[in-house]
């Protein structure tokens, strides 16, 4: 595909690797924030090609993984109601709540459907006026404008049988929380290209300056990632801490203003709990007062659900990048993609699932593979 295949060229990848080896004079620890980037890194085995000393930490940028257990349980409760059509991105269907997942609700007779676009859920609501259609509005800044537009379309069409269960998160507060943690090891960040396509990178500039940390807005293909890593390493070696844009073909400094306007119209910034990390102030989005009538939590009275995580799961440390999935006692034993205990094992972008899919069962297995 144009604009994808060119950025997977193995010959150019080797050149970047050679350049990276020449540029890296010291060991550096870099976090790719985004789960999509984690997916590419692990699936293509990019981290194993990096020069020794360049260490990638996989960040919390998987909306599926950071959706709190409580929210998943609310989704399960709503989806099990008679008369409800529960529409969700496919990713959320296997996320374990405290009692099963959405596919389990479907197996017991719930009407749970995977949709590709939030507008498909609005169309469902228009087509089934006698049913309540609930859309699971998860995602980072990339997805928030799309979910906002679904609410705007429903409002315009006067659909009173459409609502959204909102679980939106924002990247910059998460980066700040990681940098504020006393055990933080991250020295540079690859910012998520598609989040920045919406938001631009102005909000990252104060973070880079305040924490003296390089941030490189990076794309998702192998060459993008290698170039993003190279740019971060050059900054680290030079002692610079700037925001640079590797993904220039898709990201402009001020982002997508039309999308930002729709986000601001429909959502307000709110405090949010991240699964495995805990509450982070001003790190999420909630429906603005003018659109509160589309709030599924209110409509179905599920505001008071409280829950508890599995005791062995170290999802929090994995999402903050302080430990690897292979450090977890449950990883690959009790916790597998088939029976996930924690969210990072669910989405194929989740760090644990990405490790598992690439066969990283344990350090010994990995060594043999080399």
């Amino acid at each position: 595909m144009k604009y994808l295949d060119e950025y997977r060229d193995p010959v150019l990848a080797r050149r970047l690797l050679a350049d990276l080896a020449a540029a890296a004079g010291h060991p550096w620890t870099i976090m790719e924030v985004c789960g999509g980037q984690t997916h590419t890194i692990v699936r293509q085995g990019i981290d194993e090609l990096l020069p020794a000393g360049i260490h990638m930490i996989h960040g919390p940028g998987c909306p599926v993984c950071v959706t709190p257990l409580e929210t998943v349980d609310k989704a399960l409760a709503i989806a099990a109601r008679p008369g409800v059509v529960f529409a969700s991105y496919g990713d959320m269907l296997r996320v374990p709540g405290s009692q099963g997942d959405l596919l389990g609700v479907k197996a017991r007779g719930g009407d749970v459907r995977a949709v590709y676009s939030p507008l498909d859920a609005v169309r469902l609501a228009a087509a089934c006026p006698d049913r309540q259609v609930v859309f699971f509005a998860v995602g980072f800044e990339t997805t928030a404008p799309a979910n906002a537009m679904a609410v705007l379309h429903a409002a315009r069409a006067g659909l009173d049988n459409f609502s959204v269960l909102v679980s939106h998160v924002l990247v910059p507060p998460a980066i700040t929380a990681i940098l504020d943690a006393p055990d933080n090891e991250v020295q540079a960040f690859l910012a998520a290209g598609h989040v920045c396509a919406i938001m631009g990178w102005t909000e990252y500039e104060p973070i880079a300056a305040r924490y003296r940390v390089p941030i490189v807005v990076t794309g998702f293909e192998p060459l993008d990632l290698l170039e993003g890593i190279l740019m971060a390493v050059r900054q680290l070696e030079d002692g610079r801490a700037e925001v640079e844009n590797q993904y220039a073909r898709a990201v402009r400094r001020t982002g997508n203003t039309a999308a930002q306007a729709a986000m601001r119209e429909v959502f307000t910034v709110a405090s949010r709990t991240w699964r495995g990390i805990g509450p982070i102030p001003a790190s999420g989005l909630a429906l603005a007062a003018a659109y509160a009538r589309f709030d599924a939590e209110r409509r179905f009275g599920v505001g008071a659900v409280t829950t508890r995580e599995h005791p062995e799961c170290i999802a929090g440390e994995i999402l903050r990048g302080t430990r690897l999935p292979t450090d977890c006692l449950a990883y690959g034993v009790e916790c597998t993609p088939r029976h996930p205990l924690g969210a990072p094992m669910v989405s194929s972008e989740g760090t644990c699932a990405a490790f598992y899919a690439a066969g990283r069962r344990s350090p010994t297995v990995e060594e043999t593979a080399r």
Binding site: R8, E48, Y116, P337, A357, G359, R360, A369, R370
Partner: protein
Amino acid sequence: MTNPLLAACPAPARSTDRLLLGHGSGGQLMAELLRDVIAPHLAAPIEDAAVVPFAGGEAVLSTDGFVVTPRFFPGGDIGSLAVYGTVNDLAMRGAEPVALCLAYLLEEGLDVAELHAVTASVAAAARTVGVPVVTGDTKVVGRGAADGIYLTTTGLGRRLPGADVSAVRGAPGDVVLLSGPIGSHGSAILSVREGLGFEADITSDSQPLHGLVAAMIAAGGPDVHALRDPTRGGLASALNELAAASGVGIDIEEAAVPVPPAVAAACELLGLDVLHVANEGCLVALVAAGAADRVLAAMRSRPEGARARVIGDVVAGPVGRVTARTLVGSRRIVDMLVGEQLPRIC
């Protein structure tokens, strides 16, 4: 068996456009169904079992159920799929097809025109393969107890002379051959599945592979060690199954696996790994290195195998491990698909 609906109605409507529960009751309605809908396409099965002439050798048997949604998809339908699927299962043990049995499980209320169409497709596929459908069975279940049409085909085959094909025969040093591009069937089905809203220039690769296998056996004989058609679970699952059954490891070159551009695009959009996407018209073979060139040439001489190529080799171990050299030259483990394939956004 008495049908309560018919018992309650002294003059049952002989609706020919919707299937009634009574069409499966063994009475007149059923006789009419067989006469008017099945028999015009397939020779009427008068007996409960068929006698099939069988000239020596080893018999190979296989059975498979078909439940595809939607029933008609670009490049095929449940009828042709039910014939080719079982013919291919026989072929994967080095057998040529001799006869097929066909069982219908039908839902009350089914549009009879659809049953006509599916049966016509079964008949056409059987003619393409040159295998008779010799006997069968028809059941009708209540509305909601099944989804339209389920088919089960059972195939009788004869092992080809010189063939010794089994999933356990892969050996270190074997070459891994793939008969053609992957991912078309699964992505054709997904592209027309409700809710996703895609329109794609993708047709299923559904086709019979017995001719291809006959050519491979003629060229390689017992050096063709193992065959598998990577249906559900895709190439990744097929290779994992072969590696586990043979007690070997398999290394493939990701860049060597041909993927049609539209299939690659569909996988990108839906976030699927093409190695997990179903196929219905290609096969993967483990062949002794010394015979690989001959077998590959034989494959390429046939249309089903025109784009056959070497995609990797069999290694001693780790046992059951499949690895791929990635596009950028690293290595990763190729795992089996877990559960249902779901489109993802992130």
